[in-house]
Amino acid sequence: MTPLLSVTGVCKNYGARVGCADVSFDLWPGEVLAIVGESGSGKTTLLKCISGQMEASSGSVYYTTRDDRRVALDAMSEAERRFLMRTDWGFVHQDAREGLRMGVSAGANVGERLMAVGERHYGRIRGAALDWLARVEITGDRIDDSPWSYSGGMRQRLQIARNLVTAPRLVFMDEPTGGLDVSVQARLLDLLRGLVRKLGLAAVIVTHDLAVARLLSTRMLVMQGGRAIETGLTDQILEDPQEPYTQLLVSSVLQV
């Protein structure tokens, strides 16, 4: 078996400042990796570099396609990369407004990727949209409503449905539960966990919330100052952190 995503020595500098430095990891099919760390530790920079949204200063990212080819992201043409992004990959933004097309209805949002890959049958597109809205616990009678009329939690779930409709193999999530209240967070996490397990998705989740990491991820990568300081199984790191910073991070979680 080959890893789905292979990241080697990725660095990103913003002028003299370091975004992230020398990060390497492999992501295997069906695996969920959480990238944790405090604000400004380079989590989002890393996510953007490995998802092809930003060019890394150095290092390489290899992706294994469905037909088992290992391709370097920066060697792909822009057309290939954009095609990959709307078929094999998904990207869930922290702010749902960035990930959704706010001017059109929820159904059109879910159906867009299908139309982008050539589906031209209205009935089938609508069927798939209804199916996916149900899976993310949005009732079918909201299908023609604008995302503006949705609550924050619903928008986030809609964004997830929109990404998963083309059955991607790899989903990137940037703080998927950020900005939601605790009960809505819990529901969303529950949903995400179910979907990830059921569909066998591989995912990279950026979060500062260790609870999110514990619930969703199988492996964890702790970042500080742009470097990956500790990586390992989620349970292992949370139960027995080795690095002083990780220990601090784990111990600073409020115990209710």
Binding site: M115, R120, I143, D144
Partner: protein
């Protein structure tokens, strides 16, 4: 006029050359929007300055010009543009579609089938069909380059979801030559089938947006649709109240303030010809 006050057809030769280059490129790449250095014209933008510049660039002294606005030869826009070219180019003008060699049009394609000897010039307000869903020009250009047209169907999907059918009735997007999706200017979708495999050269000029594009003669133009919601054109319950034509695009005319109305041909030349023949 004794002394010509303007260069032939108003624009100077250098400008015409620039526009002709854009036209040549547009013809070479059917449906592709070619940027050009649109000039100030002695009429407001939005009154057809793009079409006027294209017409000025292709006009020769031997041409016979017809100008139509919403199908009619006698509305303000048509009359003023026709007079503009009479004054600046001194070309012959006509209202008969069959006699014209250059036809500048706003919002319609004549009902009379065009021939290889004719050129149709459209006035275009917004040349970018993707603009409704994507505001960034850099992004729409990229989408055209990479043939990412899925989003065009998102618009049609929205129509069906809201109205039960594709409710876009004018500026209906179509694919030219199997490659570029283009906006055929605000002609009713009734006219879209006439774009397809048309013997005449069709040029589109957008003055404010500084774009020229073209559909060369005998080029395939396919209107976008869904398999289960195929493209269809408008139809009317009654024929034209004046000439009795049942296969033409009809305008609704309010005749009094008591709800009286009549439906008549929008193409005045075609309607008049039918009346004379009857």
């Amino acid at each position: 006029m004794t002394v010509p006050a303007y260069n032939f057809a108003y624009l100077n030769e250098q400008t015409k050359r620039m526009i002709r280059r854009a036209i040549l490129k547009a013809v070479a790449i059917p449906g592709y929007q070619v940027p050009f250095a649109s000039r100030e014209m002695p009429m407001p933008q939005g009154w057809g300055t793009g079409g006027v510049q294209v017409t000025a660039a292709i006009l020769t002294p031997e041409d016979t010009l017809k100008v139509i606005d919403q199908g009619a030869d006698d509305t303000t826009n048509a009359v003023s543009i026709r007079q503009f070219f009479v004054k600046t180019a001194g070309v012959a003008t006509t209202e008969a579609t069959t006699e014209a060699t250059v036809i500048q049009t706003r919002h319609r394609i004549p009902e009379t089938p065009l021939t290889e000897k004719q050129t149709l010039v459209f006035q275009v307000p917004i040349p970018e069909p993707l603009r409704f869903l994507e505001q960034r020009e850099t992004e729409t250009r990229k989408m055209h380059a990479l043939e990412e047209y899925g989003v065009m169907h998102v618009k049609l999907y929205e129509d069906i979801a809201r109205f039960g059918e594709i409710a876009t009735t004018y500026a209906y997007p179509a694919k030219v030559n199997g490659r570029y999706v283009f906006d055929p200017s605000p002609i009713p979708k009734f006219d879209n089938p006439k774009l397809d495999n048309c013997p005449a050269l069709q040029l589109f000029g957008a003055g404010r947006e500084k774009r020229i594009y073209a559909v060369p003669p005998y080029t395939a133009v396919k209107s976008l649709d869904f398999e289960d919601h195929p493209f269809s054109v408008q139809s009317w319950d009654k024929p034209c109240a004046i000439c009795g034509a049942s296969d033409c695009f009809l305008d609704e005319i309010v005749t009094d303030d008591k709800g009286g109305r009549m439906f008549v041909c929008s193409d005045t030349d075609h309607c008049g010809k039918r009346q004379r023949a009857a």
